[in-house]
Assembly symmetry: none
Homo-oligomer: 197 residues x 4
DNA sequence: AATGAATGAGAATTCATTCAT
DNA sequence: GATGAATGAATTCTCATTCAT
């Protein structure tokens, strides 16, 4: 009986998504064929379609997976006070330099572009930005109330700026893996310490 | 005699690129067909190939054109002192909210992703970032020498951060044309004034 | 002991054929997948192949089954004299209007078309027409001998005409379940009574 | 300039439809591939799609074409009085035996089956039956008024019976090109002369 | 016997590119 | 130069059939 457990199904799905992520990171969504993904995952093309309705669905799943893991990274630094937040954020920026993150970073940029055309991907991308933005904005407001941050700064705008600093670094890293991540992070650190002093 | 031909050639090329830019911004590089571009420009598909070797060449040309116009925007605020630079930079951020910029912004995001796969596009994109980065880094260094900026900050890193703040806003604007550009710019303004005070 | 196996085998086969008939009547031979038939019969796709060599074999079996049940209907009115035959024939025409016959009628039209390409189906279809044709022709000849039918009519041709009148009604009913079956049968009745008077 | 006249377009379309008709008559709609049609018409697969949106559209066009030519045949015998109609009808029946009609007849049967699944084909098939039915019914009514046909027969039913006699002969001819068309027609002739005497 | 996951050949369709006119 | 018809390779997706369990 090839009846297979729930977890096997899930594992298979992950296997395919992993292969797809590697292909997509390497060649982009549109230059990657289903055959490529099948070959990369060691499966047959037909089988891929038992797990995903079509290529579009795979792209959406990849985007969702990407933002989930992103959310996981964010939660690491998700304490509650600004002081705890800052080291987490800087760590997040530093992590972009890790060679293991190369695939993720490249994938992220492709997803950003894809979000402009695929509404499902857009929804996922937007949610992936909105959630942390709201968290950060709330923390900024709290810090302003405590007098730890200048009162004049719009919390939402500031949150967006910090997200942009992350996005821009990701983009620049995707283009040039050898960029000086440390100089970047130190510049950000300097800015933040000006803010909180 | 060859002058006219040259001019005409150039004009035609621009015409086609304009049509291509509209198509690409709308549907992305890979969902846009040569037939779409021909239709949008009012020419025949065959004629497009007299001006561009292939689709790849059109994408590269679009990317180059994009970074050229970007450079043009940057030059506006390219005075020499930090004080002149800041209003220009803030103006640049504000300009992203203009409806007329919508196409440019969307196109930019697509180019960022394309740069990951097409070396020619990557070269163009990298140059488009490196040039302003060096300009800004030089200005930062000068300002640090004059004591107008804290000495501890790595000029290159700081330049990258400002570029990231632009890129991230562009990305967020591409996704959501209705975002609060003003709040963003005020947050950046706050950061900058902390820096320069 | 083999009796039970035999019975079971036959029953299973019938079960599958019933499911296949429903699917085929609904969607045609070529738009119906083995998976559809498996789902409709509550079995697994693999199991279907223990009872039929391939899809072709199922279609042939369906055609055979159809003509068998058709033969059963014909036998009802298969007495021996023309007088007994006529009510049976008219009853057969009337039966086409029954909602329960809808599936059979639709299936029949599909089989007619399939017979043009599959020699096995053709053989079955031809036999299904030839047998009643010969019966009717024989009866016509007998009636002509008894002087109950005009002598000049070719018995075989007339038999074919009556078959055509059935086939055509079946076809028209398959297209439009709401057609006026009664008017049709009364017209046929009129024709027949002219013949036999 | 490969700009091509309207008539060339039309001719090309007819060319493709002709090739498709041959393929469809031979192998049925679903065993015929677009490649087959392209090969049969001496064109490339891609070109077929400049003339037809998809395979479905080709099938519908084939069905429409079939019924148009059918209507042409009918008009031949479309005089106005029953007396003129009868020879035309008998001629129509006889024409089914012509070898040149073999393709048409086989195609017709496939269309009948296809009409059960494709609404567009159904509409075409229904119109192809309804129009002559109404014509015949009107003529029957007129003949009844003139006392040339028995008054008791339902005109519409009788018209359907004559259509069925045609359809059934077509079907039987499709299966067996060698059937005795003459015997069939003489039987019909006998029936008709009983009716009108 | 039974399952249903897995296979992979095959079919429809698209579209970059060419080329006859 | 210009056209747009024509090409055909490439790609997505389906589904009959097999096979490990």
């Amino acid at each position: 009986m090839p009846k297979v457990g729930e977890e096997h199904l899930r594992a298979r799905r992950e296997e395919i998504l992993g292969a797809a992520a590697r292909c997509f990171a390497r060649a982009g969504f549109h230059r990657t064929t289903i055959q490529d993904i099948a070959a990369e995952s060691g499966l047959s093309p037909g089988l891929v379609y038992r797990y995903f309705a079509d290529k579009e669905a795979m792209i959406t799943a990849i985007a969702a997976r990407w933002h989930e893991s992103q959310a996981g990274l964010l939660r690491t630094g998700d304490a509650g006070t600004t002081e705890d937040l800052v080291p987490g954020y800087l760590g997040l920026l530093r992590s972009l330099a890790a060679p293991a993150e190369r695939e993720r970073v490249r994938l992220g940029v492709q997803i950003w572009a894809e979000a402009l055309r695929a509404p499902e991907v857009e929804a996922v991308a937007r949610a992936g930005v909105d959630a942390p933005r709201e968290v950060v904005a709330r923390l900024v407001r709290a810090a302003q109330d405590r007098g730890e941050l200048p009162a004049g700064l719009p919390p939402d705008g500031l949150a967006r700026v910090f997200i942009a600093i992350y996005q821009g670094l990701a983009l620049q890293t995707a283009w040039d893996a050898g960029l000086d991540n440390d100089a970047y992070v130190r510049a950000v650190e300097g800015l933040v310490s000006l803010l909180t002093s």
